[in-house]
């Protein structure tokens, strides 16, 4: 769930938009370069974008008694690196802001920052760390997608707490309050996103192995388990 239209003070809305803009511009360049250097990876890019579209349209019930949706950005961040997912995530957010009154134009910068920048980077870092620690690709992708998803909503909570510090507890108090709304709700959904990302990766691994090897996701030789 994104920050609603008009629910960030003007200065915060402008600030987050300025912070997100260079990432979006860089992302467009990164995708263009990717397509030029590895035209074979178009199918994987399509699947990653499609995954992001599907997952962020699914509002799932959570143990907290409310609903939220996953982000779907972790898979693409593992395959193509975090910059590629910034533009794709931004397109999803723009679609939802314009057609669904979900999120908003004034809060687009902040929402891009949480879902299309923070989430993918955390996912990418989690994947790298897990692989280096000896985890199998499946476990690493699960962790990447789940933690990237969770990081998105932690970021949203921090953004809202910065804008609306609690009168009693200050910034920290507000972070805790917003985290109980967003991050806690997100825990089971993050697990679901992790599992679904492994599922799609299994499907890709069955028939897109050469492209995945070219991207360096799977080692060139031997079977990755």
């Amino acid at each position: 769930m994104h920050i609603m239209e008009g629910f960030l003070p003007v200065s915060h809305a402008v600030g987050w938009s300025l912070a997100a803009a260079p990432f979006v511009a860089h992302s467009a360049g990164a995708i263009r370069r990717q397509m030029r250097e590895r035209p074979g990876s178009k199918l994987l890019m399509g699947a990653s974008g499609g995954f992001c579209f599907v997952l962020s349209a699914l509002k799932l019930p959570s143990v907290t008694g409310s609903c939220s949706h996953p982000t779907g950005t972790g898979l693409g961040a593992v395959l193509f690196g975090p910059p590629a997912m910034t533009l794709i995530g931004s397109i999803v957010l723009l679609f939802q802001a314009l057609l669904l009154a979900h999120g908003g134009l004034t809060t687009l910068g902040a929402n891009v920052f949480s879902m299309a920048i923070a989430g993918p980077w955390v996912a990418f870092a989690a994947y790298r760390l897990a692989r280096r620690a000896g985890a199998s690709p499946a476990v690493a992708i699960f962790l990447a997608a789940a933690l990237g998803d969770l990081a998105t909503y932690v970021t949203t909570s921090v953004q809202l707490a910065l804008a609306f510090p609690d009168p009693a507890g200050g910034f920290e108090g507000a972070v805790v309050k917003f985290m109980t709304v967003f991050a806690l709700t997100q825990v089971p959904l993050a697990v679901s996103e992790g599992l679904l990302s492994v599922l799609v990766m299994n499907a890709l691994a069955a028939h897109n192995r050469p492209e995945l090897q070219e991207l360096g996701v799977f080692p060139k030789e031997g079977v990755a388990g």
């Binding site: 199918l43 669904l100 507000a174 599992l195 299994n202 890709l204």
Partner: protein, 103 residues
């Protein structure tokens, strides 16, 4: 691998269904959006805050909104299906060609 994938699907289904089976905590309507809760929280922290911008367009009803969410999901699922199907067909054709050459 097939069993592992089935297990993944079942786990996701379990994670999605389980919250619906939990007993209601009895406060207000259940399974509303988390963003609505955040909205309530903002009004509680800053009762004087008035959103300074309205959505440029809002779906006229919940039905139209769910239609558009379904369109979003369908577009995404269609794209994944096309990409996976294309790759599967391609690798099948390559196998076939290899078999014909060696046989």
């Amino acid at each position: 691998m097939r069993w592992r994938n089935l297990l993944l699907v079942l786990l996701v289904a379990a994670f999605t269904i389980a919250p619906l089976l939990l007993p209601s905590s009895g406060r207000g309507e259940r399974f509303r959006g988390a963003d609505e809760q955040a909205e309530a929280l903002i009004t509680q922290i800053r009762p004087d805050y008035i959103p300074w911008f309205r959505p440029v367009w809002e779906p006229p009803s919940d039905e139209v909104e769910s239609l558009l969410f379904a369109v979003q999901a369908a577009l995404g699922a269609g794209l994944i299906g096309y990409c996976l199907g294309f790759a599967r067909g391609r690798s099948r054709a390559q196998e076939e060609a290899r078999r014909r050459v060696s046989g």
